[in-house]
């Protein structure tokens, strides 16, 4: 169980996240929506402390996350994996090494610097890739993959961390609808099959409605909506998006047009980059 107690973040004179109090039980799939600059990324990145909170407290199963330092902090980051909008993979390394890097926390200094991974880790990484239908690319250089493929590799890297929580910061914002669907399906599957808590920033309404158990709406750093997907009516959404509502809606309509139940294509079409 993840608890926020008055968590805030301030950049100089700009308060990005105003005191947020929130409880997220284990195994929930949470979507955070809100317009650009609302503070979604900041909130998410405070959870694994890529952004340092400026006030308040965060507890995970009663453990104070905000106070962690050094190795404890890195262990916490290892426990809550993160998937990024731009994938944040190491483009010049092969896919397998990128995935195995998810296990670096368990390495000693020498083996990690020398890039030595055990056969067990390799088998595990291949299994994670396989789960996302990417095992055949294991030896490819990562920057030769398409965006959708990279995001799936990034999810595989997150999975080999054996995390308790999965954070995803707009995981589908740079993907085409088909790839977006593949990625969202994967996240949902992880949530349902592994029982992982998934907290996901989304910029499209219908994705949040389709995939999430619970939706949190942010506006100017304040949580203005917190409820189930059903409760997220168009009226509620309009309030979250404020003046930009129309834009957000038209965007929402054109995004993930496939329904969660549909069978994904065996291999998403390669995006020419």
């Amino acid at each position: 169980m993840l608890e926020f107690k008055g968590l805030t973040k301030q950049f100089r004179d700009n308060v990005a996240v105003k005191p947020a109090t929130l409880t997220i039980p284990d195994g929930q799939m949470v979507g955070i929506i809100g317009r650009s600059g609302a503070g979604k990324s900041t909130l998410l990145r405070m959870i694994n402390r890529l952004n340092e909170p400026s006030g308040g407290q965060m507890l995970f199963d009663g453990r104070d996350i905000t106070a962690l330092k050094g190795r404890d902090l890195r262990q916490w980051r290892n426990e809550c994996a993160m998937v990024f909008q731009q994938f944040n993979l190491v483009g010049r390394l092969d896919v397998l090494t990128n995935v195995m890097s998810g296990r670096l926390f368990h390495h000693g200094f020498v083996t990690s610097m020398a890039g030595m991974f055990s056969a067990k880790e390799r088998a595990f990484a291949i299994r994670a890739l396989d789960r996302l239908g990417m095992a055949h690319t294991a030896l490819q250089q990562t920057d030769t993959l398409s965006g959708g493929q990279m995001q799936r590799v990034a999810i595989a890297r997150a999975l080999v961390q054996e995390p308790r929580i999965m954070l995803a910061d707009e995981p589908i914002a740079s993907l085409d609808p088909l790839n977006a669907k593949v990625v969202m399906d994967a996240l949902r599957a992880i949530n349902q099959e592994d029982g992982l808590t998934v907290i996901c920033n989304l910029h499209t309404l219908d994705t949040a409605r389709q995939y999430c158990d619970r939706v949190i709406g942010m506006q100017d750093g304040v949580i203005v909506f917190d409820g189930t997907a059903k409760e997220l009516t168009d009226k509620a959404a309009r309030e979250i998006y404020g003046a930009e509502a129309e834009e957000a809606f038209s965007e929402a309509m054109t995004s993930t047009s496939l329904r969660p139940g549909d069978k994904p294509a065996a291999e998403a079409p390669r995006v020419v980059n």
Binding site: N48, L50, R74, Q75, W76, R77, N78, E79, A81, M82, F84, Q86, F87, N88, L89, V90, G91, R92, L93, S101, G102, L104, F105, F109, S112, M113, G115, Q141, A154, R157, Q161, L167
Partner: protein, 306 residues
């Protein structure tokens, strides 16, 4: 319909433009004349301070030709390729006579290359670590970065041979002083270049490695190093060329390599031995330049194919 050739002020635009242009040219001319005067003044001052005076030149220049005449080898076509004679000596006028100390030179050149190689390896290693500390985007703390940058500036600001001078006092005459001196200077020069490369690298993979729970070392090793490695390699190769040149001269202050022999020969003899050593040094430097250029090009070629 308004007359298109008239500006609102009622002036002819062509005349206006011409006036403006003339003004600009005048301004430029004055600035350039001023700079020219400064330049000539500085040149005159320099000539005076550097004592580059006609009388000095008049007495000096003939001596240059005299000197170069005396250090040129003189060949005798009859005995050019002759071996040692009965007394075990080469006949004057043969190549053997010119290169009587050939094997001594070769040994020293070998030592020179080893010095450069060791210094390049050590210097590159140091530079890699220091550049990650110095680069603004990867430095673990602001003050560490400042200290690392100042340190690098110092290392590359002081010439190798000055470090060598000091180190010879410390560790004594011999190649160790040279190796260390070149290592320090190379670390400074490469560290600066490397840190610029690091500052241009994408930070996304670093964020990725951070989120995985990686330590600072792991963030650098996996997030940055793969991005910058090709650049690092080509800079290091290029530095090897420079280090070969450097290790050929640190011997001037007793820090090993062919330089000691070179300075000794030039200082104490004015015969064909001078050109013998000099020629070998030129050959060494040119050969290393060529080799490393080849290596760099094939490296870049490989990168471009990807």
């Amino acid at each position: 319909m308004a007359d298109m050739s008239q500006t609102p002020g009622g002036q002819d635009p062509v005349a206006l433009f011409e006036r403006h242009r003339a003004q600009l040219i005048r301004d430029r001319m004055t600035a350039n004349l001023l700079l020219l005067a400064l330049f000539i003044g500085f040149l005159a001052w320099s000539i005076w301070i550097a004592d580059f005076m006609p009388d000095r030149l008049a007495s000096g220049v003939p001596r240059i030709f005299e000197y170069f005449g005396s250090v040129m080898p003189s060949f005798d076509t009859d005995v050019l390729f002759d071996g040692r004679n009965a007394e075990g000596k080469f006949p004057p006028g043969s190549i053997g006579f010119w290169y009587n100390d050939f094997w001594k030179y070769i040994t020293l050149i070998w030592e020179t290359i080893l010095m450069a190689l060791t210094a390049t390896l050590l210097g590159t290693g140091l530079a890699v670590v220091l550049s990650f500390l110095a680069a603004r985007n990867t430095t673990p703390a602001g003050w560490v970065g400042t200290i690392a940058r100042r340190f690098l500036e110092f290392c590359r600001g002081v010439p190798e041979i000055l470090f060598a001078l000091v180190l010879v006092f410390w560790v004594g005459i011999g190649p160790l002083a040279g190796v260390l001196a070149i290592t320090i200077h190379a670390a400074g020069a490469l560290g600066k270049l490397f840190s610029e490369v690091v500052e241009n690298a994408s930070m996304r993979p670093v964020d990725g490695m951070k989120a995985v729970g990686g330590s600072w070392f792991e963030q650098m090793r996996y997030g940055i190093l793969p991005q910058v490695l090709p650049n690092f390699t080509s800079y290091a190769l290029w530095r090897f060329e420079i280090n070969v040149r450097a290790s050929a001269v640190v011997g001037f202050v007793g820090a090993g390599g062919i330089g000691t022999e070179l300075s000794h020969t030039i200082s104490f003899y004015s015969d064909d031995r001078v050109t013998a050593v000099l020629l070998l040094v030129v050959l060494l430097v040119t050969a290393i330049d060529l080799l490393s250029e080849r290596a760099r090009h094939s490296l870049i070629g490989k990168e471009a194919l990807k």
